[in-house]
Structures are given as C-alpha cells and as structure tokens.
C-alpha cells in the first residue's frame, strides 16, 4: 500500500537461521516497489561485502548476486552495456539494483536474465544449510516471475565462462515506446564452433536458448521451444507482435553473425 515495508520488524545478518517471512535484501529496488505484507524480516546481503565482479584465471567472470547494475555496466563487453540499457529503469536505479535481484525477480523482461542466459551463465545457489547446487539460467527461471529457488535458498553468484564471453554477440530489442520495457529481446552468439545460439527473452515466459545450424529453419526452431507455453501476453505488447518481432530479430541476428 505504501512504500515503507511496515510488516518488516528486523533487518538481519544474511547468515541468520532462515525463517518463514524472511526475504533477501539485495538492492531493494524490487522489494520496496510493491507491497510485501508477508515479509517480516530482511536478510541484508549488503553486509556480505562480496567482491562484485571477479575475473578468474580461466577467463571466466563471476558476478556476485550483489553486484550492482552500475558496477556490471562498466564491463567492457558491448553486450553488457546493451543489456543494461535495456532496463526500463533509470541509471539511478542501476546504482542500487543488483544482478541477483534481476534474476530472482524472474521477469520476462529482465535484461540480465537475457544477458546471463546468452552467456551460458552458471548460477550458484546456496541452501540454508550451506549446501550448493548450480543451475543454468534457463533452469533457474521457470516462468514469468517464477524461479527454481527453494525456500531460503540464495543465489550467490553467476559465472560467465570465458568461451561465452569471447564469442561474437548481437542483440536486438523491441518495446512499445522508445526506451520502455522490453517486449522482445533476442541475443545471438557465435563461437569458434560456428554454432549460432539465439537467446529469446521478453517475448516469452522464460528464457529459451536455441542452437542454429546452417540448415536450421530458424522460425520453426524458435516456435518449437516456445510452443508449450506460448508467446508472452501482458500490457507491454501483443503476443503476435512479440512473436513477429522475435522472429524478425532472430533472422537479422543470424544474418549478422553468419555474414
């Protein structure tokens, strides 16, 4: 109802034992934007002081869940900046909003879902007992606003392998208004294996990655993965238009990366 989370009675260390009514506080930009009457404690990830962005010896990049969009946007890869600019949100929100928060919100238009899905991101999840598991981004995001996270489970980091970072990248996005929320966002990559991988987001419930060979019918391949749940339908765009824009972008990207 209002912007203060009135039901919250405590802000605790993120290592505190998990209990019902807890919510992870990353940047707070999603948590504070909607009523959260079920939330009674905030687990403050700001206390963790994780290194936002670590470049490992193998060339992979590990993004802490708490890495802010502004910190991420400084990465030299052009695709990173393009995806950050796909945010509906202001650069002022970038100063606070986190990579982990964008993934865990699981929204179809989440541009860092698009980015990390396209770059083969591996999501490290930690359960309340310290147990770890790793999921790909399409495994983590299971529907519009739905993730595979279990109660109390924490997204610790997303690792982008060196191979994915070194591929050629192309990105296209459509929205109803010039700088508005994405209605279709397609990223293509092409690596040493010459396989074009298309990551389709915003026009679908969840991210889909489609590998395109030389003889692949791109439209059919995309239609096939989207078929089960259909093209996304909300205020940000008509599903048929989203489909059209997605397929158009897919073809444009295929041509760009194979020329």
């Amino acid at each position: 109802m209002s912007v203060d989370l009135h039901t919250v009675s405590e802000v605790v260390d993120p290592r505190a034992p998990w209990r019902e009514g807890d919510a992870w506080l990353g940047g707070g930009t999603w948590l504070f934007s909607e009523p959260q009457p079920h939330v009674t404690r905030l687990r403050d990830l700001g206390m963790t002081r994780w290194e936002p962005l670590v470049e490992h010896a193998d060339g992979s990049v590990e993004l802490a869940a708490t890495c802010t969009v502004a910190q991420l946007a400084r990465h030299p890869l052009a695709l990173v900046k393009q995806c950050c600019q796909a945010f509906l949100a202001s650069f002022k929100i970038w100063n606070v909003a986190t990579v982990g928060g964008n993934l865990c919100a699981g929204l179809p238009a989440g541009p860092l879902i698009s980015l990390t899905a396209a770059l083969d991101g591996r999501c490290l999840l930690v359960d309340p007992d310290g147990g770890e598991r790793t999921l790909s981004v399409p495994e983590l995001i299971v529907g519009a606003g739905r993730t595979a996270l279990r109660p109390g489970e924490l997204l610790r980091s997303i690792t982008l392998p060196a191979d994915a970072l070194s591929r050629r990248h192309a990105m296209r996005r459509a929205s109803l208004y010039p700088l508005a929320r994405s209605a279709a966002l397609v990223i293509g990559t092409r690596g040493a294996d010459d396989v074009v991988r298309l990551t389709v987001t915003a026009s679908t419930q969840r991210p889909h990655v489609v590998a395109i060979g030389q003889d692949t019918d791109v439209d059919a391949a995309i239609e096939e993965v989207v078929a089960a749940e259909g093209w996304y339908d909300d205020i940000h765009g008509d599903p048929q238009w989203r489909r059209h824009m997605t397929l158009r972008f897919a073809e444009e990207i295929r041509q760009e990366l194979t020329s």
Binding site: D4, V8, T29, S90, K92, I93, N95, V96, M245
Partner: protein, 896 residues
Amino acid sequence: MNYHVTVNGVEATQPPRPGQCLRTYLRERGCFGVKKGCDTGDCGACTVHVDGVPVHSCLYPAVRADGAAVTTVEGLAATVPGDGLHPVQQRFLDAQGFQCGFCTAGFVMTTAALDEEQLTDLPRSFKGNLCRCTGYRAIEDAVRGERHVERPAAGRGVGANLPAPAGPDVVTGAARYTFDVDVPDVLHLKLVRSPHAHARVVDIDATEALRVPGVHAVLTHADAPERLYSTARHEHSEEDPFDTRLLDDVVRHVGQRVAAVVADTEAAAEEGCRRVRVCYDVLPAVTDAAAALRPDAPRVHEHGNVADEVHGEVGDVERGLAEADAVYENTFHTARVQHAALETHGAVGWLDHEGRLIVRTSSQTPFLTRRALCEVFDLPQDAVRVLTGRVGGGFGGKQEMLVEDVVALAVLRLRRPVRLEFTRSEQFTGATTRHPFTITVRAGARRDGTLTALAVEAVSNTGAYGNHAGGVLHHSLSESISLYRCPNKKADGYAVYTNTVPAGAFRGYGLGQVSHAVESALDELARRLDLDPLALREQNVIRAGEEMVEPGGHAADLHIGSYGLQACIDVVKAARAQPTPPAPPGWLTGEGCALSMIATGPPGGHIADATATLVADGTVELAVGTAEFGNGTTTVHRQLAADALGTTPERITVRQSDTDLVGHDTGAFASAGSVVAGAAVLRAAQALAGDLVKRAAAHLDADPAACTLTPDAVVVNGHRLPLPELHTAEGDVVGHGFHSGTPRSVAFNVQWFRIAVDPDTGELVILRSVHAADAGRVLNPMQCRGQVEGGVVQALGAATSEEVVVDAAGEVTTTAFRTYHIPTFADAPRTEVHFVDTHDTIGPLGAKSMSESPFNPVAPALANALRDATGVRFTDLPLRRDRIWRRLTLGPSDPA
C-alpha cells in the same frame, strides 16, 4: 541499533524503522522537497544523492544510508561555493523548467548528477523522471541553460514572460504542497477497498482490526451520514446526480472504499485494514457500457444505468445524408485514461482551537469542497475552512471530493488531526479517469465539399458513479459539432453507469473524445470526395460573427468574442508547404491535422471574487480563491494587477485558494483561471488603483484626474505621497473584484503532424508537430506555450500509450507507471507552437483560456496522419505500436 546519517550536513542518529525507505525517513526529518510520485521508482520525484550518488529514495532502504551523507534538494545549493543557488536550480528558474513543480526537485537532483556523456543523451538520462505538465521541452531548455524569463518594467507586465512567483521555492524544495507541513499528533487513515465489482456489504467485523495496537477507529457505513451527494464539484451541485454515499452498504466497483481505519501510524492503519473482515453478498455486475444499456443488464443504481442523456437535431439529418454525394459512417473508441498528476489525492484535517474543521487538501475547488462538506455533515459554512498548499497537478482530477469527506468524518469523530494520502495504485483504482467513449459518426457532403449532414451518437462509460457524467456528455457534443456549419446536425448521447472505477472531469471535458471521431470522419469524407481534408474543413468551419449551432442545445451566453481559426489554419498551410523532413527508408509517411474549438468557461456561471489590498509597506496583496497547480494563474494574476496598478509584479503578493480569503470562487477548472479569476483580479486592482488615487488626491489637495499612481507613490505636479504614508493615514485600502463567468468566448486550436510509420514493426515516429492556437491576447507567452506543449504531450499519451485496463471482473490491472505508460522525455516530440494575433472582446485585456484546449485536436490529427501514411483508418485509441502492426499485417477482421 547505532545509526548515523548526515542529511544536508546535519547529523541524524534516530534509527529508521527496519522496513523504512529513505524517502519517508528524510521527510520525517523535514526534507519535504523529497517527493512521493509513484512509490515504485518510476517517476524520480524522490531523487536524492547518497554520498554523491543519485538514487530513488523511495526504493532505497533507509538502513543502508547508515554512515552516509545524504543530499536532498534542500541541501543542493550548499554543495557549491557561494550563497546562491546551485547552477542547475538557477537554470530551472531561468527557463521556467516546471509547471506544478512536483517533479522539479527530482529533475534538479538528477540533472545535477549527470556527467558530460549523460548530458548528451537526455532521453536516456531522464528515464525514470516523469513530468506530467510540461511536455519536457521546458525541462530540456533548463538543462541546456536557455533563459526565457523576463523582468518587465512597471506597467509592462502583461505580455511579458514573467516568471512564476513560486519558482525559487519550487527549485529549492521549499514550496509547500499538501503534505509538506508538520501536523503534530496526526493520525493516519487507510481505506479498506472492495474486491468485488458489485456487492452488498452484509457485515463488517472490525474486532480484530481494533485490537491492533495504535488503531483508534474503524469507520464503516454505520458511521457515515445517510446523505447522498456527488464527488463532482460544480458551481451548481444539481448538475451531477446525488448517487454517492461517504461509505456505502453497496459497493459498485472494485476499489470502492468500504471502511476507513484510523491509527497512530500508517503501519497500524494498514495492519488494521488487513484485519477488517467484510462479508459481501456478491451481486451481478456489468463493466461494459453497451452491455449496461441492455434492458436485462444488472442495475448499477436503482434508478437505472443511464446517468444522463442528450438528444437533439437541427434540420433533418436523414435528408442531408440523402442529399450528399459522399457519406461516411464509422464507430470510434477512446480509452479510459488517468490524470496521473504527480501529487496524488490527499488531505489532512484538524480542528482549530475554536473547534472549526480545517481541511488542507490537494484540490482544484476549495470553496466547492467546503460547500460539499457543509452539506454532508450539516455544518454551517463558517464552521469549515478548506485550503490548499501548492497543488501538484490537477488536469480536472481534483475537481472532485475524493478524500476530504472521509478525512472530515474521521476528524469530527475522533477530534484529532487525520491525514489520508492516496498511493499511486489508489489513483488508478480509487480515483477517477477520463470517460471512455464509443462514438458513431455519420457525415455527408456534396461533391464540392459542402457538409450536408453531421450526426454523432456517443456513449460514455461513467463507471460506478455519475460525477461529471452529464457535464462531460453535453460538452462532448457541443463545440465539437458547432465548429462546423452544416444545415443538418444531430446529437444523441448516453452516459452509462457500469461497475467500474468512476470517470470524472479531465482536461477537455469530453471534447477530445468526440473530436477524435468527428475529425477522423471529416478526414475520410474529404478522401471520398478526393478533396484535401484541410480544405474541406476550411470550407465548412464556423466563421466570425456566426451563431454556434449545437443540436444538443446552445447556451445563450456563448459567443465568438474573437476569431483566430482562419489564422490557425493558415499556420498549418504554411507548415505543410515547407520541405518534408526525411523518413527512414522503407517507412510510410503521411500528414494529418485536426481542429478544435472550446468555450472559455463552463456554462451556467463560474464565480470569482478577488481583493487587492494596499498593505503597510506600500505593496499590494492580492487575494484570490482559485488554486495554483502549475496552470500559471498566479503569475498572470500578478501581471494583470501590476499593470492595473502601474507597478512591478514583485510589488504584488498573491494569497490564494483558501476559503477564509475571499467570498467565493468556483474553482480552478474549465480553463477559468485567467479569464474568470483573472477578470476579477483585474477589476479588484483597477478598483484599488482608483481608490488610491482618490484618497491620495484628498491628502494632496489635488484633482484626482491630475494624479498618477506610480509603483511606490501617488504623484501630482512634483508632489508625491508615498504609498506607505498613504497606508499610515488610511489603513488597509481594499479594492474588490468579481466576475460571474459570463458571457463566454471561444478559443481555437489546430494540430498538424507529419509522421513516418514502419509497417513491419508498427513504429510511428513524429517527424514534425505544429500547433496553432488562438488564445486571444497572450498574457504570458512563456507560460501559455508551456500549457500548449504540455497539453499536446498529454494528449499524445492518450493517443499512443495510455490505457487504464479493466479486466472482465472489473478490476483495474494497470496500477503503476510501469504498466500505465505516460509520456517520458524520450517519448515527447518537440511541438512548434504558434499563437495567432487576436484580441478577445470578452476576456480580460483580450485574453482567452488556453489550458484544456490544446489536448483536443491531437489524437485525431495523429490518426489522420496515420491514415494518410498507411491507407488504413484507425478508429480506436491508443494507437500502440503493436496494434498498428497488427492491423496493417492481419487486417481489419482482427478483434484487437
């Protein structure tokens, strides 16, 4: 918990509440410049700097500011050397980069944080900063350092770009809006709202709610006066049906208030709301206007689903259609759109030491709201005082009583100060909207373009209550039709109740909706006759000196007091003749225009009292009833008074919008601020000037006719009597002015667009936007231009993106700015504004109103340009990218 934050250099150690955001923490420390516009990080009105980094404080956990230095707009100037303003604040003053000013602190704080690269890309840099008033051109000018304001000499105020007197307060965060005051011991009121579109309230169990610590009362229909009234505010209250009860035992739309919980804190009030148990008997509901007109439809009110109707014919439309060489008929739909004023509805009330009820509210109609409160609670007029602070945008939405009644009930019951401030989401679910219309037009013309018939059938959806239903319907079918000469005209209209959020007054008051249909139909008629659409209009428009013919009935006090329509058309002709801006390859291009006419005030009278008083220091204090919400009337009133008194505007102080100040004022609506209240101000100032000269002449033993009033003295033959001395001798000298709002003139607006459309994506780009306006004598060109630009951009929102979506169950699903898209900096084209040279015989000093009217021709001009580019007539608003693509690709059979 140890907590330490520095706010504008002042240390604070009071820890925030665990779930508190920085915005409310800062406001609790008196930083009222930090505004709430959206609660969701979309509008940027709450922008502050945390250790120099700009953030939206509404989404920033206050606990995170521990150890930080926070700068708000109040502290910005101190971050630069010297005593003056921050350069960005000065630029917003110089360009007058604001209207209501509610968003200004956010724009100033954002601009101050932009680096060189960001300054080169303002559309992107201002993602997340919304302005509903200006259309952004004035903001861009401010950022670029353009200077528009002028300092006119004594007696030269009218016609100059005098700055708004509130400017310095607006840019420093010192301007006081409704809630920017500290009311000690205030209680917080929150509303329980109906989840059902139509239901009888069987039982309300407040037991659990009352157990919440801090909850003082739960008010329900059992506590509410029985008396029915309308939330709409009009000079004549009988213009609206009395169909609303303060808290009712029948709810007629999802979101209707059911109970009010009053508590020590917002937290307790919200918890109380969650614990109120309401038992409903759900009734059949109808959400569609056409369905509601069927005989077997569920009845929204016992008296039926027709809130008002209009029927009238002049000549014989059927004969006129038979005589036509071409006939066009089609049905058009306009969307339900919301005002989206940045300041939400809200009021705070208390009892003064004499037990008088004081209500401070965000209203365009303090006097009419006082009248309504007196009627509802059976109180004498002097027992209630209603006033406003600076009002953060209105656009008609605040010509309603949506909060003051329930606040008053709580104050009178608990004898304690009480506040109610709508959230942004409540603005969409529990306030009002523009009336969505379905309009069928039949128009016929001869081969030479002469109109033979014009028939309009309009059905408006007024939602659950009839506030403004009749007024909007009548107005919608008036100037939109009387604009054209045609021997056979017919108007039929129904305002229909449905179980949806109520519609109400909104800039243009129905004209924008019907003009969309009429102006689209005339465009098609011209095409069928192979005539130029502008030429067909030009051939048929009403001419100077002609009677206005309205089939629904003509008000006798409405005249063409000046005629600038032909000059407006000529502006568009000149623009069309200029070279066409380039369009991207493969895109379709086209042009379109539309005309509109609007009365300069409402029918039936609009009353304004004003006084001009000489005070002790020799300056003049002006008192007016009308409210300032960015419309700029305060500036214009100062100009009018200063010239009448032969002085400079700085020597005129304006006090306003308080029922204690003057006798009566109908309010700041129907574009009446300059032409009605302004006329009263002019008369008051003239009366004072005459009286000052007369009294001074007596002291100087001179002939009044030989005396001259100068800025600080009355002068005759080298002798002067300084005004402070005159005051010492005479005390306060008061001039009174009054205006009844009649007779009325008309203003004209013509909009023209050249556009490009990508048929494969549906993207529509405005290549050129030209707006010609007949505002009579333009009293303040800078402000008047701002009104036009803001109106055009607001109308472009309604034309291209805005839509309050109501689902099948009657629930509004677009409840935030991220789902209800109003124009952003990136969306707003620049419009070339041309004022034509007229001098009105009715308005003060030749002026006409220019606040609602720029809205009205915009959507049809765009639809006509889209028709020109694509060959397809789009009948329904908004013209969204996906819908344009769909129609062009999938064809007309598609049920969009």
